[in-house]
Symmetry: C2
Amino acid sequence: MFPHKIAIVYGERRITYREFADEAERVAGVIASRIEPGDRIAYLTPNTPELLIAHFAVPLAGGVLVAINSRLARPEIEYILGHSGASILFVDSEILASVGDLQSTVPSIEEVVEISDLEFGLPGGHVPMGQVPYAEFLARSAELSTDEISWHVDDERAPISINYTSGTTGKPKGVVYTHRGAYLNALGEVFHNQFTSASVYLWTLPMFHCNGWCTPWAVTAAGGTHVALRAVRPDVIWDLIDGAGVTNLCGAPTVCTIIATAPQAHFLERTLRITTAGAPPSPTIIAQLETLGIQVVHVYGLTEVYGPFTICEYQAEWDELELPERARQLSRQGVGMVQAESARIVDEHMRDVPADGETIGEIVLRGNNVMLEYFRDRKATRDAFRGGWFHTGDLGVMHPDRYIELKDRAKDIIISGGENISTVEVEQAIVSHPAVLEAAVVGVPHERWGERPVAHVVLRDGHDVSNEELRIHTRTLVAAFKVPDRFVIDVSLPHTATGKVQKFDLRLRDTASPL
Amino acid sequence: MFPHKIAIVYGERRITYREFADEAERVAGVIASRIEPGDRIAYLTPNTPELLIAHFAVPLAGGVLVAINSRLARPEIEYILGHSGASILFVDSEILASVGDLQSTVPSIEEVVEISDLEFGLPGGHVPMGQVPYAEFLARSAELSTDEISWHVDDERAPISINYTSGTTGKPKGVVYTHRGAYLNALGEVFHNQFTSASVYLWTLPMFHCNGWCTPWAVTAAGGTHVALRAVRPDVIWDLIDGAGVTNLCGAPTVCTIIATAPQAHFLERTLRITTAGAPPSPTIIAQLETLGIQVVHVYGLTEVYGPFTICEYQAEWDELELPERARQLSRQGVGMVQAESARIVDEHMRDVPADGETIGEIVLRGNNVMLEYFRDRKATRDAFRGGWFHTGDLGVMHPDRYIELKDRAKDIIISGGENISTVEVEQAIVSHPAVLEAAVVGVPHERWGERPVAHVVLRDGHDVSNEELRIHTRTLVAAFKVPDRFVIDVSLPHTATGKVQKFDLRLRDTASPL
């Protein structure tokens, strides 16, 4: 519809919609020539144009996109590549140099394609590990017929992508999205973000989280402009807000804080809308953003529901409230988005709890934007969907106005800078050290990151280990952002009658001595 | 989500979203107590709140909504009621007084419910024909359990409504819409109209046309405000544009003309968007509306595709064109809407014609917002979907920019004031007069209505009949707006080699002597 319009801005690069479609078709052609329908294609890149293009190219090739969190440690990446059985891996030069050769340890990978980020002075090819340069991969399309490429979807319930979550069991689970779910969720995002062809969307939200909440498809559906972004840096963000005319962005509260507290921050005459999730926006941040003329919208969701599922839809009468009370309203997780069903809060017998804002129950979700299944994990799928609804594991209350409010993450999850950290996973990493008998990881409030993990460790009799050694050991197994900020060696851990660690007590103690 | 917000404005009436939902549930409860799932429920009313409510109440009851064109003549209404097999008929007092008792001639109707429009001084009950007052019907809900009412849709491909079109064969065909199609088309309408909870939609477009292009569902999905409207009158429309803060309305070019040329017309500071279909907006009307600060959007569709299917999406570079050239761009029917597939223009072998803006072919459509079928007409359904695409019968060209342009309605259709008139139907009505041997009806350009029908009649030997008698005879069989403005008695009609009337010649002649 807009062939000459700029679809993607990235540094000095400008990609029109025609070029966007052409490259998607070329990438799709080469991928299709090498795979069977339903094969997984992995990407390990920051928010570059190539990853945006992959959101169209991989499905177009009949493949299933696996966009991997580039912040993960090598063993985590290996696990995801192995579990998904990805046959082609596209990897950014910088990440390739850091994680090293993955092909030799992941048998399913047939080819590694290196994406050189010339825009950021990362020409690639420095680490020869059998990888094919992206340009060379693309060039193969010249020899292929393009007649095979069809934008028609034969089976709307076929997988379009798998997004790996750091669930509760320690090992990431592969959340399967369908074409249908992605389509409907994208349309819902278009509505709630009010995307139009005049929208300019800044990619502060990683596309490897829930396919960027389906926003690659949503902004494109509206004919808006994507602004790709290699790293979340306040000066770059403000340059783009001003220079590219950004109208929308999404991110964790950390992103809000970075934007609000940047030295470059200034009042905006036009509308900039930030959609935030992961934790409620604080009164402080709401006030700061409002001073800058920025509108903040609070949403709630999980990987299993294609990103946001509920939205704290603003009610006109809140205009009259004082900031603390308004912030209290906005801190609630809200109501089902237009493409979603209503969220329910249920007791253990799947009965709705009273809408009294007090009775705690579990948040359960259902509808078109709920995942198909956990990839190759029937047991976890069955368990998650018991009673016909997806169990979030999150605890909340239903207010009399039918807005839900999250009270506690039932799963042992710490949200730090918008990233989920599974405490179980970190505990398992620590416990794998020969000197460690038991470990418990808890989340402690942190000004910049929202929460940060703290580890409580009990050593085996006769063993000794330094905090630094534990830190280094943990780092070899999990991503840097998951490594606890503090290791506390305890004589014992408080346990419940059933033997579970009483994390509540630990958290209280840690909160008393801030990080 | 917005229980206290005004959902519907009608004269002095104000209906909140809570009241809207409550009444929909009450109406649904009473209907559900009397029907089997899939039964048809007919409405014969202007654009009143009750018809808006019916768009939720009837599906909620498991019924299928048949909103009948209130401008039709009694025999046409009887045909539609009989063909759909409607069991309950809701009818407006004024229309009831005019069409009379329908229950006695349509065996399927078990109950007639009279809607008294107190807002417009039409208390009803003046014509006792066994009808039940709407209030009495509603009151029955008090005795019913509301537990039965579920907003959940079990089968998304189940019918939600049947819209009767004045096809080409003379008899209206029942176009079956599904829940799925209505849902997706409504989301598409939300996007293209940029509906939000701040939208105020004025009901100039009849809801009995394609369920008002699914806008009852679209505006409600966005949480906007409906402004119901009994009749399209320029003074009332301008009062509402100003008084109710109307942001959007839809209608035929006639509606644009009425608004642009009203004595009350004045410049608007805020955005008012008029979406028009049925004929391209003329340069004159575009200029007039632009002077008033009103944005006009041109769309194209048919009853079979839930209303609009293509939109003449505005390209920024058109800003620089002079008005005649810009109007030429805007007069094109455009590209598929976001929820639709691309429109194709094909030759008789279903091959795409070249995108040269010159080669004429038939416009064929496919996708989620194409009807399920013609109700109880397998042959017509099969014929319409030959080759797997819906055949519009309209002829057009594909431009190099992939915008389609309609060149001629292949079906013998005259569009007068946004209403389709089947020339075949009118010809059959005229020929049914004993004095008439042959009749041909053609469309002649008309300043106010776009087109008006003119009839050419050949009499049987030895018979004579006045124009006035022919007019009265035709009026008894078809709606007033379908009755030709002029009857011309000819000695013979020009025929093609295959015996078809050469309407092209007749039209040329008629255009030379304007109405």
